[in-house]
């Protein structure tokens, strides 16, 4: 870094505001779509693992192994099939969410009190209805706790996609390094952190709206 260069040049940020907004949008898409896909895979998988417990250990092992593979390696594998596209970034990120989301779906379903499960059966809910209308709604707080972790980590991981030219705000980090110019780097890091915080706050809000019943606990006799 050359001497006398400030950490942040505000005029650069003002000049690039439009471009920064575009990249922020891309970053959000690259970070959050994998969480949505992860949820679409994890919910049914979690239900199956809850229903047949023997399925859970192998599924969890596979999810954890996937999580342990470095993203660079996964990019190199998928780039052969999906090229230098956003998909090549999103597929590994989706796989990474599974190691958080599957256990949370399973734990969420296990958090349903036994009397509630029994009552559902006794009232005449069939097995599928019981899962959809009773057990999953009760699992929501635990599932959302997992979604928060997955979303935050996914948003921060997107930048690595810059290795194949699809890193959202990660672009500014490599740019800044190449030009020996700190402003884009700092700006990108701050924006990524803000995105993660905002997403987390929205998820907390979503949980409050989705589960009004989990608040207002009274400990009446």
């Amino acid at each position: 870094m050359s001497d006398g260069e400030p950490l942040v040049r505000w005029d650069w940020i003002a000049d690039h505001a439009g471009e920064l907004a575009d990249y922020t949008g891309v970053h959000l898409r690259l970070g959050l779509l994998p969480v949505v896909f992860g949820l679409i895979i994890s919910v049914p998988l979690g239900i199956l693992c809850h229903r047949w417990r023997w399925l859970y250990p192998p599924v969890l092992t596979v999810a954890n192994i996937l999580y342990s593979i470095p993203s660079l390696a996964l990019f190199m594998i998928f780039v052969r099939y999906t090229g230098l596209t956003e998909r090549t970034v999103m597929i590994p990120l989706t796989l990474y969410t599974l190691s958080v989301l599957v256990p949370n779906v399973v734990d969420g379903l296990a958090s349903v009190p036994e009397p509630v499960r029994l009552a559902a059966t006794a009232m005449g809910f069939g097995p599928i209805r019981s899962v959809v209308q009773v057990e999953l709604p009760i699992a929501v707080p635990v599932v959302i706790a997992g979604v928060r972790v997955a979303a935050v980590s996914s948003i921060s991981l997107v930048a690595v996609g810059q290795l194949i030219g699809q890193g959202g705000l990660g672009y500014y980090i490599t740019r800044g390094l190449q030009l020996d110019f700190p402003t884009p780097i700092v700006t990108a890091i701050v924006l990524i952190m803000l995105l993660a915080l905002a997403t987390d706050a929205l998820l907390v809000l979503a949980q409050r709206l989705l589960t009004p019943w989990s608040r207002n606990k009274v400990t009446a006799a």
Partner: protein, 384 residues
């Protein structure tokens, strides 16, 4: 109505939960299944709505083998109340109660209207409709559990220790409420408890199970107390079954005598002529005021001036049982129980010894009744 035919349930681990049970439960009555922990009460109950499938034998409901009915459908026609209410935490009280109507495809509006009716029926204020279960006390949740079970007005209600998780005061309240409700609804109820007092209080018929899932006796509460089938049943119904039996004798049957009852306007001298240590002082309407110890009377004046010992409690000839009369005698300073009529006027008194005569009379009636149905079917079907 509900019939068990040589029904057994064996679990793969070798446990016999229910052993060759044959039982017929009368329509419109409360049958209580009672017995020590692990004797198969819950298993028996759950075989009625197919939450447990028997290993042998058949269960039929109104003459139809329940295996012919699709299980979830069968269950929507049978109310079920469990120990810890098991309310759905994510649904409001109103929607909890509307569960079965909604499953049956009623419109949301109609189901909620029905639920609001039921909320009132079980004695909960309508403000509770919008609350969630975690905002209710245990006793209130249990009431909601009952309302939910009644959702689609099922003819049959299964209740598994519904009142055992609440404190004794709330339990007594819920039991009284339950008796009132049943008078109105006439459901066929199968009620599980391990509390023999609750069984006697609520049951029209009681099935006593012993460990290993065997039916020990099936009878009315009166006969269970009077004639336990064996030592196990006798032990289970308890040491004080003699006194408990008095609950089934109406106080009106208690022989009363006039005894030492004097109006408060009587001169004290009059009390001394009664050859009793205590006199019962009454007002002009013969309502009891208290007991006066003859030895402690003033020399002159009327009984209105005499120091009175409190009455203890009286018993009513219209509503109470002989058990209340005996209790009144034991707690009275004079050892005499005071019987009053509907207006509260004294009808007469009796001591514990005289009250015990009621027992003998009840015994004779029970023996006669037993002889009477020896040829006919025992109550509710009996053992076969």
């Amino acid at each position: 109505m509900i019939r068990f035919d040589a029904v057994s349930k064996n679990y793969p681990n070798g446990t016999t939960a229910v052993d060759e049970l044959s039982l017929e439960l009368a329509e419109g009555g409360i049958t209580v299944l009672v017995g020590p922990s692990g004797c198969g009460k819950t298993t028996t109950l759950r075989m009625i709505n197919r939450m447990v499938e028997p290993t042998a034998g058949t269960v039929s409901l109104r003459g139809r083998d329940i295996r012919e009915v699709h299980a979830p459908e069968l269950r929507r026609g049978i109310g079920y109340v469990i120990q810890h209410a098991g309310l759905f935490p994510h649904r409001t009280i109103l929607d909890n109660i509307a569960t079965v109507p909604l499953l049956l495809g009623w419109s949301r509006k109609k189901a909620r209207a029905r639920a609001a009716e039921l909320l009132e029926l079980v004695g909960l204020p309508s403000e509770m409709a919008k609350r969630y279960p975690n905002q209710l006390s245990g006793g209130q949740q249990q009431r909601v559990g009952v309302a939910r079970a009644l959702g689609a007005d099922p003819p049959v209600l299964l209740m598994d220790e519904p009142f055992s998780a609440v404190d004794p005061i709330v339990r007594a309240e819920l039991q009284a409420e339950f008796i009132r409700l049943q008078k109105e609804l006439h459901k066929t109820i199968v009620f599980v408890t391990h509390d023999i007092d609750e069984a006697i209080r609520l049951g029209d018929n009681i099935a006593v199970f012993r460990t290993g899932g065997k039916l020990a006796q099936f009878d009315t509460p009166e006969r269970l107390l009077a004639h336990p089938a064996d030592d196990f049943v006798a032990g289970f119904v308890g040491q004080d079954r003699g006194i408990r039996r008095l609950s089934f004798v109406k106080a009106a049957e208690v022989p009363l005598r006039e005894g030492p009852v004097l109006p408060e306007t009587s001169p004290v001298a009059r009390a001394r002529t009664v050859d009793e240590p205590w006199v019962l002082v009454v007002d002009e309407a013969r309502r009891p005021l208290g007991w006066a110890a003859v030895a402690g009377l003033p020399d002159t004046g009327t009984l209105a001036d005499a120091p009175l010992a409190p009455l203890g409690h009286t018993f009513s000839l219209v509503g109470d049982s002989a058990r209340a009369a005996l209790d009144a005698a034991l707690l009275s300073p004079s050892r005499l129980a005071v019987g009053v009529d509907a207006e509260g006027a004294v009808v007469g008194v009796a001591d514990a010894y005289e009250l015990s005569a009621v027992m003998a009379a009840a015994e004779a009636v029970a023996a006669e009744a037993a002889a009477g149905d020896a040829g006919a079917d025992a109550p509710g079907g009996g053992e076969r």
